[in-house]
Each structure stands twice: as C-alpha cells, then as structure tokens.
C-alpha cells in the first residue's frame, strides 16, 4: 500500500466545520460529524441541536458534573449552556422537519450522484434502526455528508445509485470525503468537485468515483 494522501478524519471534520456560519443552528450526527464541534472557527457562534430534545448542547461533563437526565442523541452524557433550552421529541422533530435547522452534518455509507444517501442499514446484518436520520435528511435546510471516499476494499462509495436501502432521496447538498469536497447548488442535479485534499490529484478522484460528477 502506498502512503496515504488526502484528509484524515479530523481533517474532514475541520473542513466540514467551515460550512458553519455565525448564528447557525446545527445538528451533528455520530462518528466524524461529532468531531466537527472541536473545529468551529473563531468568531463563529453556532447552537448545537440534539434531536432528543435540546438546543445549546454543551461539552462533555467533568466527572463530577455527570447528570443522567442530560444526554445527547448518541446517549452520551453532556452539559448545558446558558442559552440552552429543552423540549419534547415531537417539538424537536417539528423543528427539524419544519426546516428550522440550518445545517446537518452526518455520516454516510453511500451517496448517489443525485444526492441520495444510505446510512442506516446493511441487508443481512442486524439492523439497529434509522433513529432520527431520515427526519434530518428530509427536513434540514442543508445536508453535508462526510465519509471515506472508498470502502476498505477500495470500491467507491460515491455511486450512480446507492446499493444500500436509502435514508433519503435527493437531499445531500455537499459531500466531504478524504479526497475532497463535492458540492451542488439548489436545483443542480449533480455534484462538482469544488476542492481537492492536499496531495490528491483529480485523476485519483476520477478513478475512485463511480458517480457521474460534473467534472468540467
């Protein structure tokens, strides 16, 4: 194996954090997206939503601050901030479904060239459920998916069509992988390559991408 070029998980999280604008209300999925909270640019003040019923999610608690009544959607213990508010799950998803969250950053197993996402089940394996993922991709104003560009076998995860059961159709606006950033604007069908990770050449991206992008 050759030496790895491109972005690490932390780099991808840092790049995703650049999509956050001052004043945004933000929902972060589990995995790499959770790391985004560590990379919010200076001068950008965002409010994190946790879909189990909280706005203004704070950092993990110190050991003596742990409160069993205060967890995030990943069931991790967290803390509150001065700005925090709590609400029930129906209100929380009314917020999500109603388009009030500015951006969702979430992990993906596969993304299609038309912006479909699959990230909740692998047929034949025990399925844990979609949790709030289907609601988030259907409702949030802008959805950014973060994933490795290929699977462990080297096969592209950016595909003409998803092979896994979908989480949502035509809902992803930006894809951030270890190779770069892929975007499409409102009403644009396909993604463009808008950024390459350091040391990554366009040829490598082309070779590792089955999806038909707007390469021009």
């Amino acid at each position: 194996m050759t030496q790895r070029t491109g972005w690490t998980r932390d780099d991808m999280a840092r790049r995703a954090a650049q999509e956050l604008k001052d004043g945004f209300y933000v929902n972060l999925g589990i995995g790499i997206p959770t790391l985004v909270a560590n990379h919010i640019p200076d001068g950008v003040d965002v409010t994190l939503q946790s879909e189990n019923g909280m706005l203004g999610m704070g950092p993990f608690p110190y050991p003596d601050e742990v409160d069993p009544d205060l967890i995030n959607a990943g069931k991790q213990t967290i803390t509150e901030l001065r700005r925090s508010s709590y609400f029930n799950s129906a209100e929380s998803f009314a917020m999500i479904r109603g388009g009030h969250i500015d951006i969702s950053i979430l992990g993906a197993m596969e993304i299609s060239e038309g912006g479909d996402i699959a990230n909740w089940m692998i047929p034949g394996k025990m399925v844990k459920g979609m949790g709030g993922a289907m609601d988030l991709v259907a409702g949030v104003k802008r959805c950014v998916a973060v994933m490795d560009h290929t699977n462990k076998a080297g096969a592209s995860k950016f595909l003409p069509q998803c092979t896994l059961p979908l989480t949502g159709r035509d809902c992803i606006d930006m894809v951030i992988t270890d190779l770069g950033v892929f975007s499409r604007g409102e009403g644009e069908g396909r993604f463009r390559v808008t950024e390459l990770a350091p040391g990554v050449e366009m040829d490598e991206v082309k070779a590792k991408t089955e999806a038909d992008l707007r390469w021009g």
């Binding site: 967890i71 995030n72 799950s89 025990m126």
Partner: protein, 232 residues
C-alpha cells in the same frame, strides 16, 4: 377519584391484559419508567405490542419484558443495544416495525390529539414509504402516516402533583409528554410527588388531564454511555 397509587403494581392493577398495546417513555435508558416496566413484567401480560423509541438493554428497561418473551411486537426507531432482542428478532420470534424517530414522535402526538393521519416528507423514496398513501403539496410528494394510540402509556417524569400535573427534567422529557396524551390510561412514575399548588402553572409540561394514575418511586437512572472530559 384520587390519582395517587401506592406503588407500581398497585398502579397497573386492572390495566394489563394479553395482547395489549403499551407505550413506554424515555430515550435510551434516560428516564424510562423503570418501576412500571418491572410491574408490567410481573403482571404476566403476554403478546404485548410495545411502542418505545428504544428497547432497553439486557435486564433493564424493556429488556425485562423481552427475556420472558412477553413482547410480540416492537415499534421503535433504534434498537439493538440488547442481545436478547437481537436473538429473538433474528429467530423470527419478535416483530419489529421501524419508524423514523420524528415520524414516531409525531404519530404519537397525533394519536393523542385526535389526528388520524398526517403527511410528512420523512422517508419518501425509502422502504418506510412502501405501501403508504402519498399526496402532492406544492409539487412535492409526501407520505401519509397515521396516529398511534395505546391501551396504557407508561411515563416517567421528574415532578408531579396529586392532580397529575407533570414536569420533566432536561432531556428526560423526550417521548414522555406525547405518550402521556396517547394512552387510554396513562400511568406515571415520578421522582418527586408534590402537593397541588407546588408547581408553577406556567411551567407544567403535561397537564393533569392526561394522567390517570401516578406513583412516586425511586429510580436507578442508569447511564448508558458515560462520556466525560478531564479537568486540566
């Protein structure tokens, strides 16, 4: 017409039966109605349909009902922190209906609010939409979801008064308030039972009209995923 009962067994007296549908509040292990779930297990009711965002863990929460095989079907958004659940499901012994978490929350709210159906974009184009009616609004397609009700709702609250007015603590609110509205009978366990008048009427999350029975009970309050940072 008192709503206050002595203990969990007492509070479920006469409410449990084979084939019943039960809603159970909480998110993960955060403020689930621990004592009421244990009393439901002890009631011996079989073939239960359980509506709950999660299915507990082995030996705790709804896990208590799984081991003696009292649950026939689960309606949930996320499960599988639970080996016995997985075993029963893979063996075809347990029916499972996945709902997107927001759809599930809204279905329960709708059930309690007399709304038999509503449209949502959530799940459109996925397996969740299969077999469900659709309708276009402003050129976009939405799927119809139905309201959910239960024979009995089991709810966990922080404080409650003797009229059944409830307050929830922090993220322990989650599914509890909607479930309180969607049960034919709603039974609540609270950390603290107080006299009427002790809760500020402006800050009541669930009005007493939705609560038929209430108990005060000690909760273990397990933490599923302890995550801390170090003081530097």
């Amino acid at each position: 017409m008192g709503k206050v009962y002595k203990n969990a067994a007492d509070a479920l007296e006469g409410l449990t039966f084979d084939g019943m549908t039960v809603m159970s509040g909480g998110f993960g292990l955060c403020d689930i109605p621990e004592n009421l779930i244990a009393a439901l297990r002890d009631s011996g009711a079989q073939n239960i349909t359980a509506i709950s965002n999660n299915a507990g863990v082995d030996g705790f929460g709804l896990g208590l009902l799984l081991e003696p095989r009292q649950i026939k079907k689960m309606i949930s958004s996320y499960v599988g922190e639970n080996k016995e659940f997985e075993r029963q499901f893979l063996a075809g012994e347990l029916e499972l209906e996945f709902n997107p978490q927001g759809t599930m929350a809204e279905r329960i709210r709708a059930g309690g609010a007399g709304i038999p159906g509503f449209y949502t974009k959530t799940g459109y184009g996925t397996v969740i939409a299969e077999g469900k009616p659709t309708r276009e609004f402003d050129g976009e397609t939405y799927i119809m979801e139905t309201g959910l009700k239960a024979d009995v709702s089991l709810v966990k609250a922080w404080r409650g008064d003797t009229q059944g007015n409830l307050q929830f603590a922090k993220t322990a609110r989650n599914f509890n308030p909607m479930m309180a509205t969607a049960g034919k009978v709603t039974v609540v366990e609270v950390d603290e039972l107080v006299e009427v008048g002790e809760l500020d009427p402006n800050t009541i999350h669930t009005p007493g009209i939705f609560v038929q029975r209430i108990i005060e009970a000690k909760c273990e309050k397990r933490i599923e995923n302890m995550t801390v940072r170090e003081r530097n």
